[in-house]
Symmetry: C2
Subunit: 153 residues, 2 copies
DNA sequence: TATTGTTATACTCTATAACTATA
DNA sequence: TATAGTTATAGAGTATAACAATA
């Protein structure tokens, strides 16, 4: 029945020529692989990214973390709560209304572990391409992102 | 506080060098733009893709549609139900256990409208790059996808 | 008046397990 | 025994609106 394109060749699918669709599918594959790699240490993708940003920016507020990650203030609450409950992140009053977030010693160890896992995960995919191709990707993707870099409105 | 990379320059963020992260953020931006464009005709991204595959493959089953789109059998049920409830898709018994799906006349009109919207959406992003760059993207993304093209297992 | 954190809620997409009826 | 459709349920991420405390 008119097998085209890349997908095994079951049904016709003109979606494959769409950048947005290909981006979505490719991203889903990498996310699934990352989730699997991080599942061992019971961290979800959104939690690791938050943890890493906090590790790199001791004293930042959770609203700031959300702005960098494109996660809304309201959605940061359960993420930070869980990181604190697990003893990976600590916070102290900074401002009366804001908190200064910091990674604990246990948190730093988890970050190191997570980073190693992320490197492995990344390598599985980036090793498929030559450096010129990777350069194109790293030039292009931020441009797409900047078309409407979503933070909090 | 160590502003780096692309994101406005708030906090340090080593995530930006990760292919998977950039892919995820870029995809989210395009998905949000698509959802906005399709919101006018009350179609969600998952529904449009299903509708388009059915339009291109008259007589296919919903399991087949799911396989092409990487959507599990169980998750196809509400998608197809909604398309049928809206009179965009019709089905007849094919096999006793499977149905042959077809786009109705009303469905075909909606597909045409949706395709025009998708073209507009795509153009907003693909116009940012030259054709050599787009060629790289269209070569690379299916390779990433094929690393574990998820259908139903 | 604007901002930080918070609660509550809803929506979209995805995942699993189990059932039915057919083949 | 395997397949197509279905049901029920859970999880992850995201979106909005509203509120309290603070600046």
């Amino acid at each position: 029945m008119l097998p085209t394109s890349s997908s095994a060749g079951l049904l016709a699918n003109s979606l494959d020529r769409l950048l947005g669709y290909q981006l979505r599918r490719a991203s889903a594959v990498m996310m699934a692989d990352l989730a699997r790699e991080l599942g061992d240490i019971d961290l979800r993708p959104a939690e690791v990214t938050a943890l890493m940003v906090i590790a790199e920016n001791a004293g930042c507020s959770q609203t700031e973390v959300g702005q960098v990650l494109g996660i809304k203030r309201a959605n940061m609450v359960p993420i930070v709560s869980r990181l604190m409950d697990r003893g990976l992140v600590d916070r102290e009053r900074a401002d009366g209304r804001s908190h200064a977030l910091r990674v604990t010693q246990a948190g730093a160890a988890v970050v190191a572990d997570a980073q190693a896992r992320i490197e492995r995960h990344e390598a599985r995919f980036s090793s498929l391409f030559d450096s010129a191709t990777l350069d194109v990707l790293h030039a292009v993707l931020p441009v797409i992102r900047s078309q409407r870099d979503e933070a909090e409105g």
